[in-house]
Symmetry: C2
Subunit: 267 residues, 2 copies
């Protein structure tokens, strides 16, 4: 049984909403390949749980020290630091249970997806991204350095979602490569739009404070390329993502719409 | 690639030593069942990595706020809280990679062991134990309540080590039950000896401050049963652990010695 406070803390962050982009991507890939998306539900939950753990830990006072997330006080603001750390630990651990105990997957599928998840989230993936992002605060980064940090911090898990959908739908190695490149491009596009919204968005719609990149001395795409240059770069990556989809002989309309959504989103 | 500071922080805690009780138990079970212990090496590393993550997070200022571990400054004292949290996150994530990417195991073995690990370490296991242990500070617990907390906080992962060794050695369901009870008894015995050493040990040998249970208002076995009563309870559990071993038709001499070691250990 899960202790009451811990359970409330976990539920609080899971139920805080968010775009659910990672699970949606996974399920959309499965449907594009003609597979039943039900088969991917537990893996989709696993990836969302793991993403939520990363937000809880990143928001901690010793990390990014954020008070607001998804329009609500951050987990540690409500439950305290200790429970917030444990809720993150629990979500990370649970994400593997979700996949490994999923009766809809065979042993080979579980292993492939869980192994991909642990690599994407581990010390050479998402955790590395957070460490490098904090170390880089105040430093002037080149565009390549910025892209490398974002690739780890958010890109790897996005790629994991898309590729996991492909694995569960029985995609070929060649198709998985295209899917991975699609995910890579929308991951970068997503980050550029994040940076743009931090300048042009409003707190109410975004659900988090604007202008935090400047106040945290973070290198951003608009800072490197100017606002128009950043928008151009954004469109370039969305086009490249669609180009990858065109190589697949599948029903990729929804995946195209998801790429377009990244440009049009205002939160 | 793992960022340099993160890598140093992970290595610092892994190389700080410790008894390596969990990996030793796993490998000893495999040898007792006549299996080659090499097959269990990566799983043993996974469990030790996961155990080390739990120590790093438990020591954090917002948790148990400990400065010394294994005779050395705790991870956050050396690397700061942010990197300590990330090093713990990394070790937890890596522990699943170690098992899932182990070429010596087949898909079924990987799944069983990784699933057991995630359950033992998750929000109804080890993480629950830490949450309940913190909540219980200052409260007067009964022996049953104390045992239930320790079962989650340290017992589950010890049981996971022993049962994983059995799984990898091809033990029957019946044998796995005996192994689990053996582990349960030595887990409790281990905790009782921990509580006794907190009173009778010395900091130099223990590698951590003595008397911390009293100063942290923690319920302990000596507090509930007196020092002699606690020692009796310790011997009772070690005898019960050996009784379980006697049911197995295997070479359990090393596992018996490990049970005895718990009584004789002074750190």
């Amino acid at each position: 049984m899960i202790p009451e406070t811990l359970c409330k803390s976990i539920s609080y962050s899971i139920e805080a909403g968010g775009k659910r982009l990672r699970p949606v991507l996974l399920l959309a890939v499965m449907e594009a390949f003609g597979a039943k998306s039900e088969k991917g539900l537990d893996t989709a939950c696993a990836i969302e749980a793991l993403h939520t753990y990363s937000l809880i830990h990143d928001d901690l006072p010793s990390m990014d020290d954020d008070d607001i997330r998804r329009g609500k006080p951050t987990n540690h603001k409500v439950f305290g630091e200790a429970i917030a750390i444990l809720a993150g630990d629990a979500l990370l651990t649970m994400s593997f249970s979700f996949i490994l105990d999923d009766s809809r997957l065979n042993a080979e599928e579980k292993m492939q997806v869980a192994s991909l998840l642990s690599k994407s989230a581990g010390p050479a993936g998402m955790v590395a991204g957070q460490a490098e992002d904090m170390e880089a605060e105040g430093a002037e980064l080149t565009k390549d350095q910025l892209e490398a940090i974002h690739d780890k911090k958010t890109g790897q898990l996005l790629q994991c979602s898309v590729v996991a959908g492909g694995i569960l739908a029985g995609a070929s190695a060649h198709e998985l490569e295209s899917l991975k490149r699609y995910a890579k491009h929308i991951g970068i596009a997503f980050q550029i739009q994040d940076d743009i919204l931090d300048i042009t968005g409003d707190q109410q719609t975004l659900g988090k404070p604007v202008g935090s990149d400047v106040s945290n001395n973070k290198t951003t795409y608009p800072a490197l390329l100017g606002l128009d240059g950043a928008k151009e770069e954004l469109f370039r990556h969305v086009a490249a993502a669609k180009h990858e989809l065109a190589k697949l002989q599948h029903e990729t309309a929804v995946l195209e719409q998801l790429a377009d959504y990244i440009i049009s989103r205002n939160h």
